[in-house]
């Protein structure tokens, strides 16, 4: 049975099998790092928000991003 993950919030609750699965799934992506062109189309059309909430001013821009993520995924 292939493990399913909705989020990745911590490693503590994951089992050894789930952790091994994540490591094994990273292998083909290691191969990509050796290609001249290290890009893949797997996330084409998706919107990813990178939220680095270390500076106070980032908050407003993140809430704008959040709206965009919701709009794209619903």
């Amino acid at each position: 049975m292939t493990p399913r993950f909705r989020d990745l919030l911590a490693l503590e609750p994951l089992s050894a099998d789930e952790l091994t699965f994540l490591l094994d799934q990273s292998k083909p992506f290691q191969e990509i790092q050796r290609h001249p062109l290290k890009k893949l189309a797997v996330l084409r059309g998706k919107t990813i928000a990178l939220a680095f909430l270390k500076i106070p001013r980032a908050r407003a821009s993140v809430s704008a991003l959040r709206l965009r993520v919701w709009a794209r995924t619903r």
Binding site: R6, L8, E12, L22, L43
Partner: protein, 232 residues
């Protein structure tokens, strides 16, 4: 999502119906760093089972150390945590029940017979007179080639970067044959690609990666449309 408060991504995940990835929260966890370190160790040592792992530095404030312990501990690794006593409180020995963890305060003892040394970045702003000066830290805890000789001959050294060369690690160890820092960088990209792929598209039932067979044939953003240029 990276946040200074431990547990902030859990809060966000409860309120959003999209996948949330913790990119480091306070002193709690840094899952992708834990995974990329494990991948690096597995590639170099052939296994992550039953290794002696030494973690050096400010363990108390380190989410990286916690993710390393929670991952590698499930594979029977034994941990030695080492650093100045205020950074390595004894309570850390109990953070992962079932995992053997000991705190020691002499680096020579911590390195004895170890397979893997995981360095942590020293926040230089935490090195202050008079309690702990940079010079005290170097004298007591800097990883040098001479000290590393106490570890197993095939021991490896990891560091999440960026390294303070000359503070927590000497340049000859940082760039030496036992150092894995360059693999850590490329493995970091691979692990994060895999996490995004798995959480957003989901893995195929048979574990295959059909999408990986087709690299993007052009060197621009992998979006469907190129945004129109604004008039300047």
């Amino acid at each position: 999502m990276r946040h200074h408060a431990s547990g902030a991504p859990n809060y966000v995940a409860r309120h959003l119906d999209i996948p949330v990835i913790n990119a480091g929260d306070g002193t709690h966890e840094h899952p992708s760093q834990g995974l990329l370190d494990a991948l690096t160790i597995r590639d170099r040592k052939g296994t992550i089972r039953n290794l002696n792992v030494t973690i050096l530095g400010d363990i108390q404030h380190s989410r990286v150390a916690r993710s390393n312990i929670h991952l590698l501990g499930k594979f029977g690794c034994r941990f030695t945590l080492c650093g100045p006593s205020m950074w390595v409180p004894r309570e850390l020995e109990k953070i992962a029940p079932g995992t053997q963890i000991r705190c020691v305060y002499r680096i020579e003892e911590a390195l004895e017979d170890t397979d893997v040394v995981i360095m942590l970045r020293v926040q230089t702003e935490r090195l202050n007179e008079p309690s702990l000066s940079p010079n005290d830290y170097i004298l007591g805890y800097q990883l040098s080639a001479e000290r590393l000789r106490r570890a197993k001959p095939d021991a490896i050294v990891l560091h999440p970067g960026p390294m303070n060369r000359g503070i927590e690690i000497t340049p000859d160890v940082a760039d030496g044959p036992q150092s894995c820092v360059l693999e850590q960088v490329t493995n970091g990209v691979a692990v994060r690609m895999a996490i995004l792929y798995l959480l957003i598209t989901g893995a195929a039932e048979d574990g295959s990666h059909p999408a990986l067979e087709q690299p993007v044939p052009h060197n621009r953003r992998a979006t469907d449309k190129v945004p129109a240029k604004k008039d300047s």
